[in-house]
């Protein structure tokens, strides 16, 4: 689960991690008041959407207005905020449709000496959390990894004890920090690692991480993603979820216990198992089709879930046909067919439907399909099913 920058910074501040002075604004007047309250000669007004690339992003309604802007007066804060709030920000990460900005963060300026990068993630190869830092602040870490991998420094840390002081100092010295900045970095690095552990994050990123002229490390940006599987023990964090940032059908799928990702093609897929679902998409492409979605009904899906899956797939107006690919393990093939036949009648499936079944109770399931009297095409194997589905559109 992703949260907004302003939410992440509030959590940071509560955990003792240094952030610039900031005030959340939901109206243009609040933005102007925030500028005055911060009391500085300048402030930064930042659009709050989940996608990155906000500084370079522009608004659909105001093509010259950047998503993050430096202002030097309360009036400038108000004018910019008026253009930003309620408008649609398009960045490299939002896609062409963009995201509507509903909240702004107004932040005091800093005396910046250096900009660093900091990220904490799980290193799946080692099975441990890892702190990643780099001297290349402000750049995407993937780009740094590609062009100058030697500038990326890593320390794995213990999932119980967190980052030890010597590990933090090692990184601080390797980054060329000196004097007060070393002490500040030791504290900052350890606090961020502790934050990652205490909140069950799957990612905590600070880019850029600023070193001020006074030698203090301050989080100029904050990107936090939580492990969905651990939210059950963080009910307060779960409340930070912003559903308006998510694809509505993906949310509906999640509520039904399904895993759905909308894609751009026209052939809907209903598959059990993530690996098989991805492979089914690959197969559709291989035979000249375009998948409209990824949909994994999971291992133990029931009639209601499968019906909901069909409803979600068909809610996409691009869908001109559906390929059902089930290899029954936990999921019995007759369960799928029972649901499929119910959905066919309830929802009124009008697009061509190709079904490929294998596994537990497949004979019963095939017989049910054959005797249903419905226009459902049976695929005899993977390739046959994919070819028939692509041809049916």
């Amino acid at each position: 689960m992703k949260i907004h920058e302003y939410q992440a910074k509030q959590l940071f501040a509560a955990a003792g991690i240094a952030v610039p002075k900031n005030i959340v604004a939901k109206t243009a007047d609040e933005a102007a008041a925030a500028f005055a309250a911060l009391g500085g000669p300048l402030a930064v007004v930042k659009s709050q959407i989940h996608a990155g690339g906000r500084g370079k992003g522009r608004f659909k309604e105001h093509p010259d207005q950047p998503g993050v802007v430096l202002v030097k007066s309360a009036d400038a804060a108000r004018e910019n905020a008026a253009r930003m709030l309620g408008s649609t920000l398009v960045t490299i990460q939002t896609g062409p449709e963009g995201k509507q900005v509903q909240t702004l963060l107004v932040e005091a300026g800093l005396n910046i000496a250096r900009e660093l990068y900091l990220g904490v993630v799980i290193d799946r190869e080692v099975g441990k959390p890892v702190l990643i830092v780099s001297s290349e602040g402000g750049m995407e870490i993937e780009v740094v990894a590609e062009h100058s991998p030697e500038k990326i420094l890593r320390e794995h840390f213990d999932p119980d004890a967190g980052l030890f002081p010597y590990q933090a100092r090692k990184l601080a010295f390797a980054l060329g920090l000196e004097g007060n900045a070393v002490r500040s970095a030791e504290k900052f690095f350890r606090q961020v690692c502790r934050f990652f552990l205490d909140n069950d994050c799957s990612m905590t990123e600070v880019n850029p991480l600023v070193v001020t002229k006074e030698g203090e490390l301050v989080a100029l940006d904050a990107k936090v993603t939580f492990d969905d599987n651990a939210l059950f023990r963080h009910p307060k964090l779960a409340e930070l979820r912003d559903l308006s940032e998510e694809e509505p059908m993906e949310v509906a799928a999640q509520n039904a216990g399904l895993s759905y990702v909308k894609l751009d093609g026209n052939l809907g897929c209903l598959v059990n198992g993530a690996g098989l679902a991805m492979s089914t998409m690959d197969l559709i492409k291989l035979h000249g089709g375009e998948p409209a979605n990824f949909l994994d009904v999971g291992g133990g899906a029931n009639v209601e879930q499968v019906t909901e899956a069909f409803r979600i797939i068909l809610a996409d107006p691009n869908v001109k046909g559906i390929l059902v690919n089930i290899f029954g393990g936990i999921m019995k093939c007759d369960t799928i067919v029972t649901a499929l036949l119910a959905a066919y009648d309830n929802i009124g499936i009008k697009v061509p439907l190709v079904v490929r079944l294998e596994g537990t109770n497949v004979e019963i399931a095939r017989k049910m399909l054959a005797e249903s009297g419905k226009k459902i095409v049976t695929g005899m194997n993977l390739t046959d099913a994919a070819q028939k589905a692509v041809a049916a559109i």
Partner: protein, 301 residues
């Protein structure tokens, strides 16, 4: 011959009084009875607070330690709900269980980091498969997991897979071309899993009952790249592979927590290239996995 599971494997289920735990314990017991009538393979289960009872003929114990002591079990199949699964894994290891197969999906990743740390530090004799996996099967000998038993035929292909249903698909295709499996293992789709490709590749390479290997991976991370390097340097047996997710768009998580491409890293193309460079026959389509193993075997002759 086989790896991990053989005729000495005796199984209990942690979480046997739950719906899924009981259903699959029954299925695993039926599989053993069908293939090895008269032998006691699935010997009981464990649910804290329900010790001393029985469920459908399975004796239930309060602790794994007691279950092991009284049944001689050396393998545990875990169906414990996610918040308690990490603890269940450690309980099994501490009781001296050698093979722990965790089916549970949705364990917090930091729980697994802590569990793995304990396993590595204190329980070198216990091996964890999973979590979030279909389990392990040595066809004709024992099924420890949720896979449909009949699709796996005894044979000489060692099968390693990150994905559940894709493993079934592969086993089915292998059966259709007359190739059974020595052992089939679903390693799990989570970011942190107990056993990765390398250790299993090494076991299959050393297993006289395995003639060829099929490895099924997916996008995200670099485990398949590391495996490709290992195969190049250490595996002499014919090896085929398939990578799922060639067409998945970057930045989107495809069901498995692991299946996400970020910043051009962990793409299918990278993985396929690394595997091919290591002499592995890579199936172009998921419908081609069985045939790819055949091609790998012919190429080595």
């Amino acid at each position: 011959m086989s790896i991990l599971v053989d005729r000495n494997t005796k199984i209990i289920c942690q979480g046997i009084t739950g719906k899924a735990g009981l259903f699959h314990s029954q299925q695993c017991r039926a599989y053993a009875q069908q293939h090895r009538p008269g032998e006691d393979v699935f010997v009981g289960g464990c649910t804290p607070g329900k010790g001393g009872t029985t469920v459908d003929g399975f004796p239930v114990f309060d602790t794994v330690e007691e279950a092991r002591r009284k049944t001689g079990a050396n393998c545990s199949l875990i169906f414990v709900p996610p918040p308690f699964a990490g603890d269940a894994i450690l309980e099994a290891a501490d009781a001296g269980i050698e093979l722990i197969v965790a089916i549970t999906e949705g364990i917090p990743v930091l729980d697994m980091a802590r569990t793995k740390k304990q396993l590595d530090a204190n329980y070198p004799n216990s091996r964890l498969i999973g979590p979030n996996c279909p389990g392990v099967i040595t066809p004709g000998v024992a099924k420890i997991g949720i896979m449909p038993g009949y699709i796996h035929t005894p044979g000489t292909v060692g099968l390693i897979s990150k994905s559940g249903t894709l493993t079934y698909e592969a086993a089915w295709q292998l059966g259709n071309v007359g190739l059974g499996q020595s052992t089939a293992i679903g390693i799990g789709g989570d970011p942190i899993i107990g056993t990765m490709y390398l250790e299993l590749l090494e076991m299959f390479q050393n297993d006289p009952g395995t003639e060829a290997i099929l490895m099924i991976g997916e996008i995200g991370g670099n485990a398949e790249i590391v495996a490709a390097e290992y195969i190049r340097d250490h595996v002499t047996k014919p090896t085929a592979a398939f990578i799922a997710g060639k067409t998945a768009p970057p930045g989107k998580r495809m069901g498995h927590a692991g299946a996400i491409i970020s910043g051009g890293k962990g793409t299918a193309a990278e993985k396929v290239a690394a595997l091919e460079a290591a002499g592995v026959v890579v199936a172009e389509s998921p419908a081609d996995m069985g045939a790819a193993v055949q091609r790998a075997m012919q190429r080595r002759r």
